[in-house]
Amino acid sequence: MFGEQVGGGSGFNPGPSCADLVLLQNTGPAGDYVQLIARQDTGSAVSTAGNPFMSVRWVAPVSGVSGLAVPVNAAWPVPPAYVTSSFLNSSIRDAIRYLTYPPVFRGYYQGSGNTLASTTWPAGAAVPLDTANGAGSSSGGSSLDPYAGWNAAGNYWQAPVAGVYSVYVQAALAATASAYQLGAGFAVNGTTQWLRSSFQPASTSPRAQLAMRKVRLSAGDQVQARGFQNSGSALSLVGSGTNPCYAKMIIIWEAA
């Protein structure tokens, strides 16, 4: 899975980022493993600069119980009230279920026919995600949405519960002979927050930018991936069917 793909030649070191939500389910010596890979196509070796780093964190199990409310963590009953199975199930069982399997989402663009219009900053446009309701796969490139928040018609993910969420959006565009500015961000209920924008020289390979931010959402808030480019003409969005550097959106519930 590819993260950012940026142009070089500026005289400064590029510093691309990569983030993804990956299903790892094969353990043991022959099991799944994760590596950080850097790709460059200058034609000759290039030294790394700074301190490349990789971090991995467990987010949720392979499967679980979804559709739960955020735990309210009620106080323990005080006599003459008594502890019921209902209280224990809601306060302990469902709390564990929710916290180990919170709302997460991974949707991506698989197709090849959509474009991102050239606009005047900071307009931008929605990045369509045509694959957003799958069950996940350790082979990568799969979608995940156990709380069923994706709305295909509106091209947005609707938060099932309130809380602080981490949102990641990658906008990926096909190569173009024009230099342009590429931006990535997301809109909450129609209001766009840009997190990433940088100059891209003319290229013969796709370009991608990765935006990320933690936001507080109310239940029902709509999150949509957004991209920006000003090359002067529409550019094709890169889908997973044509290139590993493709558009996607990842959302993870973090805290109440």
């Binding site: 983030a19 009620a74 323990w76 990433r196 940088s198």
Partner: protein
């Protein structure tokens, strides 16, 4: 808000627990794991950026229930006892800057810790870079800051939707 770090309960045979004990053993740890520690801030007013590293003086503290932000040090300190791994996201924006570079950086205790993400800057549009990293922090002690590195003098963008941001959440012991 006064959540304490989650405590792993020990159930002792022969004890005669009261509701308050169960609140400490069950309610409080789950409340801590649900609520966690969260900090979010944005930069909505002007700030000049010198060539090199610039600590962002976040002025709009969106949420900081434990009062960890210091507008003097321009840094956030996790609440006492909440040691652990925090996921820190830093997004920085600079005004139009022709042919330069912008970097988002996490600062820890006055030093740069992680260079997260770089942008080749444009001379006619604002430029943004963002990234995240897990950071081990000692509660009540370590200071985390958001830093913008620019290759030449510039200023932060103050336009809504294109502002410097920093968010931090506790992720575990």
């Amino acid at each position: 808000m006064s959540l304490q770090p989650p405590e792993v309960p020990v159930f002792t045979a022969g004890s005669d627990p009261l509701p308050a004990d169960f609140n400490r053993w069950v309610q409080a740890p789950f409340a801590a794991l649900t609520g966690k520690v969260v900090f979010r801030a944005a930069k909505t007013n002007a700030q000049s950026l010198s060539s090199g590293y610039n600590t962002v003086a976040f002025n709009s503290i969106i949420e900081d229930p434990y009062g960890g932000w210091s507008s003097v040090a321009n840094a956030w300190v996790p609440p006492a006892a909440w040691n652990g791994t925090y996921v820190v996201k830093v997004g920085v924006w600079c005004a139009a800057l022709s042919g330069g570079r912008l970097l988002s950086v996490i600062g820890l205790n006055g030093s740069t810790l992680y260079q997260l993400n770089g942008a080749w800057t444009n001379g006619s549009l604002p430029n943004g870079a963002c990234g995240e990293a897990p950071v081990q922090l000692i509660g009540g002690q370590d200071q985390v800051s958001g830093i913008a590195w620019v290759s030449a003098a510039s200023s932060v963008s103050t336009t809504t939707g294109q502002q410097c941001t920093m968010e931090i959440t506790w992720d575990g012991n």
